[in-house]
């Protein structure tokens, strides 16, 4: 129930400052597209961004670089491991 799934944004509708407008994004994952609400997303997403979705609502948006940066940090952490421990 708490699993929040990240999906790629393909379309954005509504006005971020107007809660009465229809704040909806179309998202896509593995070829399935659906609509999610943007009422409570932390940052208004653009097409191409990713959003983490919970129970039909986007709760967080992240750009591609953010995801890549995180991977780089993880690699750095593993590169600090002394060689002999890896064998």
């Amino acid at each position: 129930m708490c699993l929040a799934i990240p999906m790629r944004v393909t379309r954005v509708q509504g006005d971020p400052d107007d809660f009465t407008s229809n704040q909806v994004a179309t998202v896509d994952t593995d070829g399935i597209s659906k609509e999610v609400r943007l009422d409570i997303v932390d940052q208004w997403p653009s097409v191409g961004d990713y959003v983490i979705i919970h129970a039909g609502f986007a709760i967080h948006s992240l750009v591609e670089e953010e995801a890549l940066k995180n991977i780089a940090l993880l690699r750095e952490l593993s590169e600090n491991t002394p060689e002999e421990l890896l064998s």
């Binding site: 708490c2 409570i40 039909g56 709760i59 967080h60 995801a67 993880l74």
Partner: protein, 362 residues
């Protein structure tokens, strides 16, 4: 998301497993607060690669599991009322109350719909104007903002036949209740990733300071979890206790201010009943008087019934990290996912369900 594969790649995780061994310098007990973490840890087989001296215990972060027996009974009684249609997240359907479950109420004619989002419940209210549609709000900070947004949408559209029964719970409060119990020895917390995306990593700071408790906000992939365990072990090894954010791609220090503003508009803090933990002051949220027409407890005049925990079920202790499911005499005998006795076996994030599904070799 296409990057997920990279978080699971063996060339990334193998060195992290080695680094974790390296980082554990003394025995330590870590609690994973969140039910989704419990499941992810089992699914990835992380327990089998934990270094000697590191123990993981599950905490009270499965929303279905911590829903009290009295709330379950109130939900079922409400579903039995004529003119009421109850909408729920699917995990609640088979949780046993004192004498029945919502599933049994449904088979004897109660109107119960499983929805994916509270917005779907609002759509049902518009489709059935002659019925009162109740959404059962069960969850933590990740579900509350969406429920708040749905109530606001109902308010703006002047929809009169939609109400919410709020048993919404807030996160650091029960951890305080747990940590003040001297029987529970915990050195570090894997803090829930998506709850923290709303409340912010900074929300854990007071606890880290007060209980001298290492806190790391963790994501859900193998590499995320390993990295978080490494950071916890290092904090404890070097006695450098603080809050670290190991999930920066989803969590900021301040959290999601937009979502919090929405919650603040609709809800106010309230005392809340937790299974196993009892009533904890200001650990839940109820609907503000301004929006009372959307409050099921007000509209249907509900008083919580006295209810008993299922006989022999140890969920209450399992939620506190005091026992593991194998110590329950009913585990995998009288209690199985097909025939659950308690909520920890029903919920897809429940610790008993996790042990049943993945725990054979551990």
């Amino acid at each position: 998301m296409k990057h997920l594969d990279e978080y699971r790649a063996a060339d990334l995780t193998k060195p992290l497993v080695e680094e974790l061994k390296n980082a554990v310098s003394k025995p330590l007990r870590v609690m994973e607060v969140c039910g989704s973490h419990t499941m992810a840890i089992f699914r990835n087989g992380l327990r089998s690669v934990l270094p000697d001296g590191m123990e993981l215990v599950s905490g009270p972060g499965c929303p279905v599991c911590v829903t009290s027996a009295s709330h379950m009974d109130a939900f079922i009684a409400m579903a039995d009322r004529p003119g009421v249609r109850v909408t729920i997240f699917g995990d609640l359907f088979r949780v046993p109350g004192t004498s029945a479950s919502l599933a049994q109420a449904s088979s004897r004619g109660a109107k119960i719909d499983i929805v994916y989002s509270p917005m779907d419940a609002l759509d049902l209210a518009m489709r059935y104007p002659g019925e009162l549609v109740v959404f059962l709000g069960v969850g933590f900070e990740t579900t509350t903002p969406g429920i708040a947004a749905t109530i606001l949408a109902a308010y703006n559209r002047a929809i009169k036949n939609f109400v919410v029964f709020s048993t919404q719970k807030t996160m650091p409060a029960p951890m305080e209740a747990l940590l003040s119990d001297p029987n529970l020895q915990i050195d570090g917390l894997l803090c829930p990733g998506h709850v923290s995306s709303i409340i912010g990593a900074g929300a854990w700071s007071p606890m880290a300071a007060k209980y001298h408790l290492a806190c790391v906000v963790a994501g859900f992939e193998t590499a995320d979890l390993l990295k978080s365990l490494i950071l916890l072990a290092r904090q404890i090894g070097q006695n450098d206790i603080k809050v670290e954010n190991a999930y920066p791609r989803a969590v900021s220090w301040e959290g999601n201010l937009r979502a919090r503003k929405m919650v603040e508009e609709i809800f106010e803090p309230a005392d809340m009943d937790w299974r196993g933990l009892g009533r904890i002051p200001a650990s839940g949220l109820k609907i503000r008087p301004k929006y009372a027409t959307f409050d099921a407890e007000v509209r249907l005049d509900i008083t919580l019934p006295q209810a008993e925990e299922p006989k022999g079920c140890m969920c209450g202790y399992i939620l506190k990290g005091m026992n593991n499911p194998r110590e329950c005499p009913l585990f995998d005998t009288r209690c199985t996912p097909a025939n659950p006795v308690g909520p920890c076996m029903v919920s897809s994030e429940g610790t008993c369900a996790a042990y049943h599904k993945y725990g054979r070799d551990i």
